[in-house]
Symmetry: C2
Subunit: 647 residues, 2 copies
């Protein structure tokens, strides 16, 4: 069906099962995500701004604009995109939380970007006519259109807030240039790193200009025909191995795969291309079922930052780049809007709590880039102010390749836009946050609910109707793991299944619905085909994945190489919940295996003696912490998957 055009939404499809409730209609006022929105407002945005300045990536625009920067030019192939992602974050932020200082900064930076644009609309600080590399001279690896796509997304954020300014004008001119250059009769290539597709699709939605959709379609359809130069890393890396509508699973570079898929979903939705949408749904489902880590992270290969084969998910070699999670949220939200299926909301929840929340530290001045699930040696700390080359460090202030921080920040700044949807006579709340939603149903009736919850620490989600007009339906997502959930309406409690708990009735202001989700910690077992997880379990508590850290626990440091979790001890009998985030430990019980002694050759000899066979196994407890909080207390070894005591 067709919707009213949404405002201030990161994604604004004109067709699909669900229509997003704009970020402006959702006011998050407390709890887990409010804290992270506050961190964004108070710390993360300025942190990124100052680091981009410090790294010289604004200087690249100053030089391109003909302004002497007084600094050595340090921009890299792709750093324009980091500027644009920050501008997008600024745009979402000022639209929801007005701030004249930030508005002025956004205007200043938008002016800088505009000044760097060529007369014919082309814009990239690394390529171009002024002594730089030849325009479109290295499409496979040059990131020109990738950068452009991010500018388009930034401009869309402004347009959705009803603003037209230097940023939006610049973006439209660049989009027109690209359509001219790569349109019918023009150049036939596309960018090795997708992103232009999703940028063009959203710009089409924001402006109604069909040429952007046509150009996006051209880029999507030409992909997969092995048109990029043959490279040692393989065609998969560029998603150039199989046409988009023929692929059955995502592969190659994770972020590239996600960005391409996001743009392709937009294309499929806007053109009513059910075949393409069906292919993309299948790719997502196979990827989620076979190529995704417990945290929602993706990418088993450091080389090429890419997916492994099905079920090839070694926790120690997990790459799980933060940007991949941002891209996965983009795709899952689009597929949720297109199909209305609740499991996409589950996926978004998993990605938010275990990948996005993991990225920044508590003080908002360091970020993770790579997110392994097993760390065998205490992670490498970087000095304050160091921007490491390497990606196996703990959180760092910045990175030499710094795609992740601004990506997280633009998502956090627009997070309210991923909370709820409307369709027909229904308001659906997909993410359980404390705050108020006041929005319009597709028929124009205003409805509102005020939600209070301590989720994920507590499973009680209380929604009070604050606006109503006649009969409509309220739906709350019940996560797939929430077996035993219940819904209370007017004192009557009914069991609800995973999916959506729905109440359709004549609502009055003040009516209350209480969803109770069982957030107790539970043990997880992996599909037997994930070889790397054989004989191990993980703990999840509500949506939160937990982990053991070598530094954690009142019991002092436990040798994680020796700890064997005893599955027979019910977790609720050892739970060690605390009131606060930091103390929200889950205690698990087990034994310490005998220390392995080094053999000259690690594969000879009898099976290792199990702890139960040792004379007096030492019992031990380990307090797990939420994965997102790992290394908050300093360098440590870490395990999400814990070996079990053999029965």
């Amino acid at each position: 069906m067709s919707h009213r055009p949404p405002e201030l939404s990161p994604v604004a499809p004109s067709l699909g099962a669900l229509s997003p409730v704009p970020a402006g209609d959702v006011h998050v006022t407390g709890g887990f995500w409010h804290a992270r929105q506050q961190l964004t407002t108070e710390k993360l945005l300025d942190h990124c701004d100052s680091w981009i300045e410090r790294m010289g990536w604004y200087d690249a625009f100053r030089v391109a604009a003909g302004q002497p920067s007084g600094k050595e030019l340090k921009g890299k192939l792709f750093t324009d995109a980091d500027v644009y992602k920050l501008l997008e974050a600024f745009a979402w932020e000022v639209a929801q939380r007005p701030d004249p200082v930030r508005e002025a900064r956004l205007a200043e930076l938008s002016g800088l970007v505009a000044a760097a644009q060529e007369d014919d609309g082309y814009l990239n600080t690394f390529f171009g006519p002024r002594g730089r590399d030849h325009r479109y001279g290295d499409l496979a690896d040059g990131h020109e259109l990738y950068c452009a796509g991010h500018l388009l997304q930034a401009a869309v954020a402004r347009l959705r807030a009803g603003v037209q300014d230097a940023l939006t004008t610049t973006a439209v001119r660049l989009a027109d240039r690209i359509c001219e250059d790569f349109g019918a009769g023009g150049l036939s290539g596309s960018d090795g790193h997708p992103e232009i597709e999703v940028g063009l699709m959203e710009l089409y939605r924001a402006t109604g200009e069909v040429r952007y959709l046509d150009q996006a379609r051209r880029f999507v359809e030409q992909r997969g025909h092995r048109t990029f130069p043959h490279h040692a890393i393989g065609d998969e890396y560029y998603l150039d191995d199989v046409p988009v509508r023929e692929a059955t699973v995502l592969r190659g570079h994770v972020v590239r795969a996600m960005y391409l898929t996001a743009g392709a979903v937009d294309l499929a939705v806007e053109t009513g291309d059910e075949e393409l949408l069906g292919a993309l749904v299948a790719q997502w489902e196979n990827t989620w079922a076979r190529r995704t880590y417990l945290t929602g992270g993706m990418g088993a290969h450091h080389l090429g930052e890419s997916f492994g084969k099905d079920f090839e998910l070694p926790p120690d070699r997990a790459y799980c780049e933060t940007c991949g999670a941002v891209g996965a949220v983009m795709v899952a939200w689009r597929l949720l809007l297109a199909t209305g299926e609740a499991h996409y909301g589950d996926a978004i929840e998993r990605l938010l709590y275990n990948m996005i929340a993991t990225s920044p530290n508590a003080t908002g001045d360091r970020f993770f880039y790579v997110n392994p699930l097993l760390v065998r040696e205490p992670g490498i700390s970087t000095a304050e102010g160091e921007a490491p080359f390497r990606k196996d460090t703990l959180r760092a202030s910045w990175f030499w390749v710094a795609c992740c921080p601004t990506n997280v920040v633009r998502l956090l700044a627009s997070l309210s836009g991923y909370v709820a949807t409307v369709h027909e006579n229904t308001l659906t709340v997909h993410q359980h946050v404390t705050g108020e939603i006041v929005t319009e149903l597709p028929d124009g009736r205003e409805v509102g609910v005020d939600v209070v919850t301590d989720y994920p620490w507590n499973g009680v989600v209380t929604a009070r109707v604050t606006r109503s007009a006649g009969s409509w339906a309220l739906r709350l997502r019940v996560p797939s793991w929430a077996t035993g959930a219940s819904l209370e309406v007017g004192g009557a409690v009914t069991a609800v299944e995973p999916g959506y708990a729905e109440v359709a009735r004549e609502w009055s202001v003040g009516d209350v619905v209480i969803l109770r989700l069982p957030v107790e910690a539970r043990l997880l077992h992996a599909d037997a085909r994930v070889d790397a997880l054989r004989g191990m379990v993980a703990v999840q508590r509500g949506p939160l994945v937990y982990c053991a850290e070598s530094v954690v626990g009142a019991q002092g440091s436990v040798d994680l190489d020796r700890f064997r979790l005893d599955e027979r001890v019910p977790l609720d009998s050892v739970a060690a919940d605390g009131p606060s985030d930091a103390a929200a430990a889950v205690r698990v019980s087990g034994v310490l295996a005998s220390a392995e002694t080094d053999r000259r050759w690690p594969y000879e000899g009898s099976p290792p003696v199990g702890p139960e066979e040792a004379a007096s196994p030492t019992r031990a407890d380990v307090d797990l912490v939420p994965y997102y909080a790992w290394s908050h207390r300093g360098p440590s070894t870490m395990r999400v998957w814990i070996p079990v005591q053999e029965p």
Copy 2:
């Protein structure tokens, strides 16, 4: 102690516990390795020669020599080294198996190399004065001294055969140039890829020129002080993170680590530097105990072709480059000669049977490059004549980066030099091959044994004395896995322990010693710290690691994802040995687990139902084949480590 100078030995230390028996004193006449020597003589050498010509890597020398090649220049930074490795292989080959045609080809190619040398002795086809890149302009990544080191090794092979020719003259002039340029008061850098060190050390041994030793010392000692340009891949990659004598384990790029270690052992031995030797021994031991796969392969990271952390050994992500195994044989042989400890002979045996023998196919026209221990999708075939960029293919005719084939061939051509040693009054046979050894003890007495064995298919090794003079000792290596071995001398059988079985007596010609090694297939369990191998076993038969292939077995294809090995069934009751190499299967017995059905999310739900809990578990047998023979029958999935049926 000091030795007589050995002839025709790949390594010729003047000090150390053992002295190598020269390749010319060891005539392998039958069995497993004779077949591979024959393959080398009849196929591999010519295959490499024709591919180097085809790839244009000789043309790089023709162009450097001022000869028009008539072809587009295709040499790469490191391809000079492949030419030199092949010349080294030719040199070993003609010294043992004279062939006028091959001798002429070697002379022709040596002349070509000599013609490319600059007037001042410098030689590299990629760098230099004739319009090429600036000499020593990119020491970290340019591979100039790496290539030079291989030329020195090739020249040493000629010198050890008593030949002085264009090749040896060219090498000496280049070595002198390098000593001049990098000696006292000269340049301070060294090559990002070690190899020059071991080349200089052997050239020192072959010529007695102390300046080569001094220069090797300079290169070894300056390493590890973080002198290479800072690079995203990290100082470890270049072995530039820790000084050689301070390191405790090998790390970074496997081949670089092994070549550097080989040169450093040579340095430590020749200078009597016990501290350095002790450090290198500890590095080897820690690497072998904690960073080595069951096959002897090394390198858990594709990115950087590098070692992982301790016990980070995922079988599917194993890089295990063939060149790393060649390098490991170089190091282990040097440490065996230096220390006399039998476990180095075990390591060489493991590397030879499971890495070196795995590389070429049976017809000698394809090679493996990367050697994983778990292959989840049938390996990628390459067309005849294709030299793939990618390293995740099955055996290929050649590679775009083709370090491995010539490396394997130079080792196979010199293999007789790695079989036996002498010291004091003792002849030790380290590798059990059919053939005759006639050599001199350090005191000049000639001794000889004729060995007959079907090892590794059969554990009986019969050694008959063919030359004797008074009292001397014969030692035969008993591998570490050979519990229950026995030695029969003159009809008397005694049990022997792993290490060396030694008989010292007055030998007469015709005396016979029979070593009986228990080569029955056995199950192996990994150190519990190798997380990726939890709940799995492997099968080894004598020195041979076995694997399951999806294409193998009279029972048809078994789904390797579902097979669970039953450890309770003794292997000897299901053994399926055959008389020939190809039929040398080991049958294992187990059950087929229920097929895993795809879940939407692979980590939710109850523990997988074990086969024993299923109504009627389907029993299944799988015939394992030696790992070296995997994919001989075409693309397949493959597993070295097999999940066990839960008790």
